[in-house]
């Protein structure tokens, strides 16, 4: 079996079928939405910060799309708890594949990193570093 079967190992399927922290957030410090137009994947990440304005207290997400994108958002929502915004900012693609614990085929990598990109863009907007009026799209989610 090739890459793809590894891609759908139990952990991914578990997070897809039983997503953690999925839902709205009443008073987030920031929320951001992104999409992957070619797949139709959409993710909104809602982030609540600690009083220090730097540490992530908890994260929820909403969205729909393929198993890779949704499982990645679910796992990231757990991973981000307790992280600082600068640690979030420094997460790269390898961190995401490491978190997922599987090889992601090149054509699917955009699905895997969408949630991370959305969280990073949301944080950057919150901190006034970028001014993104529109939602994050596939082109941004490199």
């Amino acid at each position: 079996m090739g890459m793809g079967s590894d891609m759908y190992r139990q952990q991914i399927l578990d997070h897809y079928k039983n997503p953690r922290n999925k839902g709205e957030m009443s008073e987030p410090d920031f929320s951001h939405t992104g999409e992957n137009p070619s797949c139709g994947d959409t993710i909104t990440m809602n982030v609540k910060l600690e009083d220090d304005e730097e540490t992530i207290e908890y994260v929820t997400f909403t969205g729909n799309g393929c198993a890779i994108s949704q499982a990645s958002a679910s796992m990231l929502s757990e991973e981000l708890r307790g992280m600082t915004l600068s640690e979030l900012d420094s997460m790269d693609t390898d961190d995401i594949t490491g978190m997922l614990g599987v090889d992601i085929s090149p054509m699917r990598i955009k699905c895997a990193v969408l949630a991370r990109q959305v969280a990073q863009d949301g944080a950057a907007i919150h901190e006034g570093e970028i001014d993104l009026d529109e939602t994050t799209t596939e082109e941004d989610a490199e």
């Binding site: 079967s5 079928k17 070619s38 797949c39 799309g65």
Partner: protein
């Protein structure tokens, strides 16, 4: 032509002409071509995207580059003459294949999309204006939809869409309503690359001509899969691509009625398409060269002729009946599952493709799992995004068949779909 007697294809012997069908897949993909980690036999069901290439077509390219590679129409040396004659003859062969009157009506382009753009720019920009409408179908490929949409914006013309009914068929009553004296162009797909619907192109042409409008038929999925006669349809323009009919990439065809092409200004300017040039002005070469600026697609055009030779040897009526056989079989097998939704008309009334979704599994996840089984299909919107919006799904999974495919390959597809179902249950 539908009444023509057909013979079942000798698929086993056809497959021998396509070396790629023997390869294994599934290992690492950084290095193209079969590697030791590739252990799954390939089941290639993505023919509506691109078909595989038989040895005779590859050999025609090798023969050209090893034997008479040369630029055309500009040398009187021996090789250039050989290449020119072969390149011109390829136009004749294409004309004969689709029932055109001659090479003047056959323009070689890069692909169907470029053929569409050629007419949209060379005819549309000159002829369209406020008050004119371009009538499309709801199942147009982006090649047609986006092109006319944007040309309409440039010219002030408007675009209207003929409805697709719940069975995936074109609503011909709606077509008759929409096509009126404001209609300047009717541009319609012949066989839908998503629904498999076969559109009554001749009826659309009649409706268009009743109102002095032109009709452009997108034959990208029809010319590879069935006998097509542009004269019988009475199409004013007609386009298709070589790579979906056993030919190489980089070659498309635009057919246009001669008097229409003669009345159009060139789309691209440069060498090859001119008769005489001064510092102040230029005049154009005769058809079809007027529309083939620059060094044309010589090797690809010659290879397209070899592809046509192969298909005619098989027989286009036989190709069509094989396509229909496989489409119906796939439709029936996939219909066994309550959680599979198939888009388009019933199995006994469609071209050789089936697009579907498995409930609860995104098309991209499904295609990744099918890939584990060596099954190559297309997942996405198939360049018909508005149609998918209408269907209410972001994407679908499409299996599409050709002359070398078998029922047992469709069984492999169905088994893989079943595997995905269990994985996601």
């Amino acid at each position: 032509m539908g009444t023509q007697e057909t013979q079942p294809l000798d698929v086993a012997s056809i497959r021998e002409d396509f070396p790629i069908l023997d390869r294994m897949v599934g290992g690492e993909i950084e290095t193209p071509g079969e590697g030791s980690a590739d252990t799954q036999p390939l089941v290639y069901l993505d023919n509506a995207a691109t078909s595989q290439t038989p040895e005779s077509v590859v050999e025609s390219i090798v023969d050209y580059y090893y034997g008479y590679n040369s630029n055309v129409h500009r040398g009187i040396h021996h090789l250039s003459q050989e290449a020119s004659v072969a390149y011109e003859n390829a136009h004749d062969r294409v004309a004969e294949f689709i029932g055109a009157d001659g090479r003047e009506e056959i323009i070689f382009t890069k692909n169907t999309t470029e053929s569409m753009n050629l007419v949209a720019y060379a005819w549309g920009l000159a002829e369209l204006g406020p008050g004119d409408t371009v009538v499309l179908t709801e199942m147009e490929h982006h090649a047609s939809l986006v092109t006319w949409q944007q040309i309409a914006k440039k010219t002030g013309a408007s675009v209207e869409y003929i409805r697709v009914d719940d069975d995936g068929r074109l609503d011909m009553d709606h077509a008759a309503d929409l096509i009126d004296d404001s209609t300047a162009m009717v541009s319609a797909v012949h066989v839908s690359n998503t629904l498999g619907t076969v559109v009554p192109a001749g009826e659309l042409a009649d409706l268009a001509h009743d109102h002095d409008a032109h009709v452009f038929i997108d034959g990208a999925q029809s010319v590879p899969t069935r006998p097509v006669d542009v004269g019988e349809i009475d199409a004013d323009f007609f386009a298709f691509s070589g790579h979906k009919m056993l030919g190489p990439t980089g070659i498309g065809v635009l057919y246009g009625k001669q008097h229409l092409l003669e009345g159009m200004e060139p789309y691209l300017y440069g060498g090859e398409m001119i008769r005489s040039v001064t510092y102040d002005d230029s005049t154009w070469e005769d058809l079809p060269w007027k529309f083939e600026a620059g060094t044309p697609v010589i090797a690809q055009g010659i290879a397209l002729e070899a592809a046509i030779d192969y298909l005619e040897e098989v027989g286009m009526a036989n190709v069509q009946s094989h396509e229909e056989l496989l489409a119906e079989y796939a439709y029936d097998r996939l219909s066994e599952f309550d959680d599979v939704e198939i888009y388009g008309p019933p199995g006994d009334d469609r071209g050789g493709l089936v697009a579907f979704n498995l409930d609860g599994v995104h098309a991209h996840d499904l295609s990744s799992i099918l890939n584990d089984h060596g099954v190559a299909i297309r997942a996405g919107d198939h360049c018909t995004q508005p149609l998918h919006d209408k269907l209410g799904v972001p994407a679908s999974t499409r299996a599409s068949f050709y002359i070398y495919n078998t029922k047992s390959e469709i069984d492999a597809l169905v088994d893989a779909v079943d595997d995905a179902r269990q994985l996601f249950a």
